[in-house]
Amino acid sequence: MGKVRRISGCVAAAEAVRLADVDVISSYPIRPYTGIMSELARMIADGRLNAELVYAEGEHAQLSIVYGASAAGARTFTGSSGVGVTFAFEVYSPISGERLPVQMAIGDRTLDPPGDFGSEHTDAECCRDQGWIQGWAATPQEVLDMHLIYYRVGEDPKVMLPQYVCQDGYFVTHILGDVEVPDEAQVKEFLPPYKNHHVLDPKKPQIIGPQIEPCMGPPQQYQRKQAFDNINEVLIKAHDEFARIFGRRYDPFLEEFMTDDAEVVIFGQGAHMNTAKAVAARLRNLGDKVGVVRLRTFRPFPTDEILKRMSRFKAVGVVDNSAQFGISGGAGVLFSEVRTALYDVGDKVRTVGFVGGLGGEMITHDEFLKMFRKLQEVAKTGKVEKRAYWLPFEL
């Protein structure tokens, strides 16, 4: 059994990397994810982790280094925040396209402007369609667990895809929580050693990433899509195994809170959903039938799960902690995609989008209360007067 430590999301991520026996790590400093690398550097200096930390000259280089290292057969780790995430953008598709199961932590931060250090999901959501598995952890414990689960899923021979493990800047990266750090034997049972069959090895020469002709494009992209289609099955199995070995069970796709007889729910991802849950619990005390659904796996987006499990609610309020200008629906990407997922149930479920917490601002109890009240009004009247609200200006 592991032992419980009170640590931040950053330290929890580093503990997972240590337990995963990673070989090559590439670093570059940017708040708020930096603490992960500082912790790993200390582990290496103290002899607790046998890995090399390569000091990249920027985020683009970070991703380039792990691309090469993963292709040479090493288990790899990197990470970033904010504009660092977007600076590396060129390398994301080559990594997934060459089917290299690199893992990257993202400690969310706004892009510039506003240039503060605050958390927004905008950075990580920019990369949402690059062929990487992607999900948000809402507590330090979940950070540690998600890193381990994603290594296993990404390295599965049916998948072989890279993974972003995202956590809200400060709200998770810098907040302490009680974390059960598992022991190495448990992790060994859960996570087999990395084995890629497409490795750069002079004993078995092969070429990786040749230029192709247009006629070879459709099958190559389709193979990446098929690998993506395999994720859910592997993800479910990994969560079952995780529960068996570590005793913690997560729903792989949607965490439901007080939803049993709920009429309206708030839907979102990341740490702001902790606040939403607190407000939902207060409203339950007043007799309101409200709940919270927290998305855990953002890519692949669990369209079928949402359709199956959320068509029982009268109104769903989708909270986007991101700035996406001109997007369909007028809120953010979660709203747009939840509406798409629920399209087949028609008017049965009303949806409303809320954009909040931009620039690292809190989404307050009061704001969540207003959102729940708005949803109750929509559920009662069956009418959506306004599709999307930017907080705090429009609600």
């Binding site: 070989d23 090469g68 290292a69 292709a71 090895d201 070879m216």
Partner: protein, 316 residues
């Protein structure tokens, strides 16, 4: 530096080829000849990294490639970074008992864009961290696979589609080129070996590859690789152009170690630059004053590395 086997002559060079027929480079391609010589000198325990450029596009089209050793594509931006990752991975996997074999030679084959321009930051990062990687620039003096556009190593006065000559800009290319070997040579503490080479001098080139690979840390080679298509000369003149570049001093062959330049070819005299330029239509629009400017620039570059022999025009 560890011991390495010197190749005494072209006849005694290894027979084995690791860059083999089956590619789609232009007739008379200088960079393809570079690749063949580099692969021959490096041998089988080698991994090539190919940033986007001619040697990616022309070698790997249709999903196959002409290497008998592993090769991986890198972006034009990140040859140094990808090589850093591969070198580190092998070092760690061997250290941790996860790979049973020798550390392979890791060689980046970048064009002038991938080495001198958009890829320079990645090269510098790799050199400064001290990875045991041989970074080679095959310099054909333009972005050639995109259809001949100016790069930082395009000579003064050369036509490219981005530097056409016209009434307002009679010389076309106005800038003098960037000298990457010197840029990298002086500021990277682990870089102990920098050399220039030319396909006109293949034995010298192959021995520089071996010497580069024998270093404890990184090494940088800048190889002159004439391009018939971009420079507009007949494809059977590639080697002649390479030799003329050295004989005129347009391209200087040297090794740089311990703060000192050692010349690789002892010239008795230098030919005037016009002897090189007149064969290439990329310079055809230049006027005498432009040629004079070029001669003065080349004289200064030669003096920098210790080529002091006089310029002697051929007897009429």
């Amino acid at each position: 530096m560890s011991e390495f086997e010197r190749i005494p002559s072209i006849k005694k060079a290894p027979d084995e080829e690791y860059y083999v027929p089956g590619h789609r480079t232009c007739a008379g391609c200088g960079p393809a000849l570079c690749y063949r010589l580099v692969a021959k000198a490096a041998g089988p325990n080698t991994i090539f990294i190919g940033p986007t450029g001619c040697m990616y596009v022309a070698n790997t089209s249709y999903g196959c490639g002409p290497w008998r050793v592993p090769w991986i594509h890198a972006q034009i931006t990140n040859g140094g970074g990808v090589a850093s990752g591969i070198e580190t991975a092998y070092r760690m996997l061997i250290k941790k008992g996860k790979y049973n074999g020798e550390q392979p030679n890791v060689i980046v084959m970048a064009g002038d864009g991938g080495a001198v321009d958009i890829g320079l930051q990645s090269l510098s990062g790799m050199l400064y961290r001290g990875h045991k990687v041989l970074f080679i620039c095959y310099d054909n003096e333009s972005y050639a696979n995109t259809g001949i556009q100016v790069s930082p190593t395009t000579p003064y006065g050369a036509w490219t589609t981005f530097t056409p000559a016209g009434e307002v800009i009679p010389e076309g290319r106005k800038h003098f080129p960037k000298d990457n070997a010197k840029i990298v040579a002086h500021g990277h503490p682990y870089l102990k070996y920098v050399a220039t080479g030319s396909i006109g001098y293949p034995v010298d080139l192959m021995n520089k590859v071996r010497k580069g690979l024998a270093q404890e840390g990184p090494a940088y080679l800048h190889l002159h690789a004439p391009c018939p298509k971009g420079w507009q000369f007949p494809p059977d003149k590639t080697i002649e152009m390479a030799k003329l570049a050295v004989q005129t001093g347009m391209y200087q062959l040297y090794e740089f170690e311990n703060g000192k330049y050692t010349l690789s070819v002892q010239l008795k005299e230098r030919k005037p630059v016009i002897e090189y330029m007149k064969h290439q239509k990329r310079f055809a629009h230049l006027k005498p004053e432009h040629i004079e400017k070029m001669q003065a620039f080349v004289d200064a570059k030669c003096a920098e590395v210790g080529i002091t022999v006089p310029v002697v025009a051929a007897a009429q």
